[in-house]
């Protein structure tokens, strides 16, 4: 049908969602894109880049979820990323999501977005709350005043999404146009803006993507990034002129207005908002105490706040570690069955060993922990989405401040008890770089789940009666170390005060299941991906090191002959079955030990033994610690290989006995301590590098290794005097 042709052309365009962190922006993003999302990082920074697609009517709409920001300054990485995206990528339509339960504050970002002169739709989200708060609202007038159409949505009820998309299309097709709005900042500021604009005009070739008025306002706000950018794109002469002009402007404004330009500019913006709201909205009078306030009266109460917080954390750990045990055990036994099946199907040989010992042993061991990780992330997502996380930071700020950290440092440290990798990632909420780096560096000492098997093994071997207390003491030492090292790092490498603590306490909200699941899955996927890549590669490497070079017939004695003789004796009934079995086991063990000693891993173990000798560790403990670089779970499995040996006869009691015979309680405790203090695993280092750069990662390696070595040395050498 020829007359329908026009409608069949699919058009594609991009909308970008901008809004403050608690505006419900992500919920709207999830509503629009469903599960067709892609999460990545913006190049070079650790800010998440979320994109999705939606086919709607005759359009394919690409949706970008910009990081949540209160403003477009250079205060945090998120803000920089958001504004760079808008300026450089120029989305066809900018969608500004506004929490309409608090318009006066949330429209502050809007006043800045309209200055970027990108076609925009303003979304008043949580319109149900808005309707409760106001008697009447004139949306048409407000749209007119802000120069962009306003649509109402209720994100958590999935209402108004089509209206939003229809409006975005209208704006994209230029079928909806409002007169552009300029916010006036008063004569003094406006004069300086014009002067700056005129100067910038000279460089218009290299500043094509910018709106000069916006640039000038940013300069008056003393935005460091804008200044840096201008320095980079301009010659010295121009930059010097610019700086001279700017300094004059700044001091002129300060003299005349008796306040800094950024304050005056903000005043004008809020003034603009207040004026607009007064004209278009009739507010209800209400002096009721909101539900959020009532909840806060309990949750951040001076007396109850901390105990409640501790209780919530306790519940979280109980659920994650106790309840999580079940699915982890199911997965574990499932994996065992799979391994058994596999070992029956695949013929003996190197391939089988690689598959079962190397890959399944390494990667599978990590993957079975996934349910616990999922539970942990569900919990964290609920705490975040409900608004409690901000309160937790608030409650902990006083305590964290004493050790030179920020209230927000607490959450990463807490997650560190589960797994260090998500802990590093959650450090992103810290805006200040020093705060973030210190938090990351000391996170190692928050004993992660992977180390627990080591403690359980050694505590039960050497301190069977007090194993609980001994394990607790290790955790405690970790915390003490973290505090001490935080202070040390603050005093040496990261001088200066912790960032002043300023944080919004958003109203409490009931988290949506969809939102929680999406958050959980994003983070869990990173964990699984890590197991599939880094750990897979390392497991194969470890296997190679433990397998090659192969011993062949380089055994110190002819064990095979001995076995043959033994077999003959047994067959001719010279020895009993029991004696035969135990002798065979003995020989098999010796063979296995020699096999490992002959392998590259064994040689490395012997090679590094002198370094560990002063700590009381023999080559086997040294080797296990080295293997622990791949993941602390590997320490126990390596010890298992070194001590109990031979797959067919893996007898845990025997394993423990041989460890008990070889070492004493002092060495046992010291080994736990050493395992606690050095960096968690290679995968965590990879994340550390991504989050903080190569230099900091190398520092982390050196710092934790030397600390672990020195502390263990002191403990062993002093402890030796007493036993």
């Amino acid at each position: 049908m020829p007359n329908n042709n026009k409608n069949n052309i699919i058009k594609e365009f991009t909308i970008a969602l901008a809004g403050s962190p608690n505006s419900g922006k992500t919920t709207i993003f999830n509503n629009i894109t469903g599960s067709r999302q892609h999460v990545g990082n913006y190049p070079g920074v650790t800010v998440e880049h979320k994109t999705g697609r939606r086919k709607y009517k005759d359009y394919v709409i690409n949706v970008v979820d910009l990081p949540g920001t209160y403003t477009l300054t250079a205060y945090s990485m998120e803000e920089l990323v958001a504004r760079d995206y808008i300026i450089n990528k120029k989305p066809e339509v900018l969608v500004n999501v506004v929490d309409s339960s608090n318009l006066a504050r949330n429209l502050y970002l809007t006043t800045q977005l309209i200055e970027l002169s990108v076609p925009m739709v303003i979304v008043f989200n949580m319109a149900d709350i808005l309707k409760k708060n106001v008697d009447n609202i004139n949306l048409e007038l407000l749209s007119h005043l802000f120069g962009a159409p306003i649509v109402l949505t209720i994100g958590n009820k999935n209402e108004g999404m089509d209206k939003l998309l229809d409006m975005a299309i209208k704006v994209y097709e230029r079928k909806y146009t409002e007169k552009k709005v300029l916010i006036k900042y008063g004569d003094e500021i406006e004069n300086e803006i014009i002067k700056l604009e005129n100067l910038l005009q000279l460089k218009s070739d290299s500043l094509k993507q910018f709106n000069f008025r916006w640039l000038s306002i940013k300069l008056l706000e003393q935005d460091k990034e804008v200044l840096k950018y201008l320095k980079n794109v301009s010659d010295e002469n121009f930059y010097n002129n610019l700086q001279k002009l700017l300094n004059n402007s700044l001091s002129h404004i300060k003299n005349v207005m008796r306040d800094s330009p950024e304050v005056i500019i903000a005043e004008a913006r809020y003034g603009f908002i207040n004026g607009a709201l007064k004209e278009a909205i009739i507010e209800k009078k209400n002096n009721e105490i909101s539900i959020s306030d009532r909840i806060d009266q309990v949750l951040i109460n001076k007396v109850l706040g901390l105990p409640i917080f501790i209780f919530i954390m306790w519940v979280m750990f109980q659920i994650v570690f106790k309840l999580g045990d079940y699915p982890v055990n199911w997965l574990g036994s499932g994996l065992n069955k799979f391994t058994d099946l596999l070992s029956k199907v695949i013929p003996e040989g190197l391939l089988k060993s690689l598959l079962i010992d190397g890959i399944i042993g390494g990667v599978g061991g990590i993957l079975v922990f996934t349910p616990k990780i999922m539970l942990l992330f569900i919990f964290i997502a609920v705490l975040e989405d409900s608004g409690y996380m901000a309160r937790a930071a608030f409650i902990m700020d006083r305590i964290m401040h004493k050790i030179g950290l920020h209230g927000k440092s607490f959450i990463p440290l807490l997650i560190g008890f589960g797994c260090t990798i998500p802990a590093y990632m959650s450090g992103r909420t810290l805006e200040n770089k020093s705060d973030r780096l210190i938090t990351m560096h000391i996170n190692t000492f928050m004993s992660c789940g992977g180390r627990l098997p080591i403690y359980i093994l050694f505590a039960s071997v050497f301190f069977p009666k007090n194993s609980g207390n001994v394990i607790f003491s290790i955790y405690l030492i970790g915390i003490i170390m973290a505090i001490a090292m935080a202070k040390l790092l603050r005093a040496t490498r990261f001088k200066g005060e912790a960032e002043p603590f300023v944080m919004e306490l958003p109203p409490y909200r009931v988290p949506t299941i969809k939102g929680v699941l999406i958050h959980m899955w994003e983070r869990t996927w990173l964990y699984i991906k890590k197991a599939g890549t880094v750990i897979l590669a390392l497991s194969i490497l470890m296997w190679v090191l433990f397998t090659f070079p192969m011993i062949g017939n380089h055994y110190s004695e002819d064990y095979n002959l001995q076995l043959k003789n033994l077999n003959n004796s047994y067959l001719s009934a010279k020895i009993s079955k029991d004696f035969y079995d135990s002798e065979v086991l003995k020989i098999q063990k010796e063979m296995a030990v020699e096999k490992i000693e002959y392998s590259a891993a064994g040689r490395i173990g012997h090679f590094v033994e002198p370094i560990f000798k002063p700590l009381g560790f023999d080559w086997r403990l040294s080797l296990s610690s080295l293997a622990g670089i791949a993941g602390k779970e590997v320490v126990v499995s390596t010890l298992g290989t070194l001590f109990s040996i031979t797959k067919s006869e893996k007898n845990p009691v025997d394993f423990k006995n041989s460890i008990a015979k070889q070492f004493n309680p002092l060495i046992g405790y010291n080994f736990m301590l050493f395992s606690l203090l050095y960096f968690p695993c290679i995968a965590s280092l990879a994340v550390f590098k991504r989050e903080a750069g190569t230099k900091e990662m190398i520092f982390q390696i050196g710092f934790t290794l030397s600390l672990a070595w020195v502390v263990s040395l002191i403990v062993y050498q002093i402890g030796r005097l007493f036993i």
């Binding site: 300054t73 304050v263 809020y270 700020d397 002043p500 306490l505």
Partner: protein, 82 residues
Amino acid sequence: MEQIKTNFISLVNAQVNKKYRIEKMTGGSFFNMRLLSLGFIPGEYIEVINQYGRGPITVYVKGNKVALGRGAAAKIFISEVK
């Protein structure tokens, strides 16, 4: 250092449940920008809801609840609204 008028007090010394007005913000421009975006602005009313021991305080400003560390609060000067 600018002189702060004597009848202005620092937010740290504010009392719970009294009404104040923001008069002066003495932090650097970087820090000010953060506060401004959260609704702290000269002339705006502010109310202290909670003093958490000697730790951070929570205030109401522009319809928002914000937690401030003592270091941050010390840089905001206010006067009481009678």
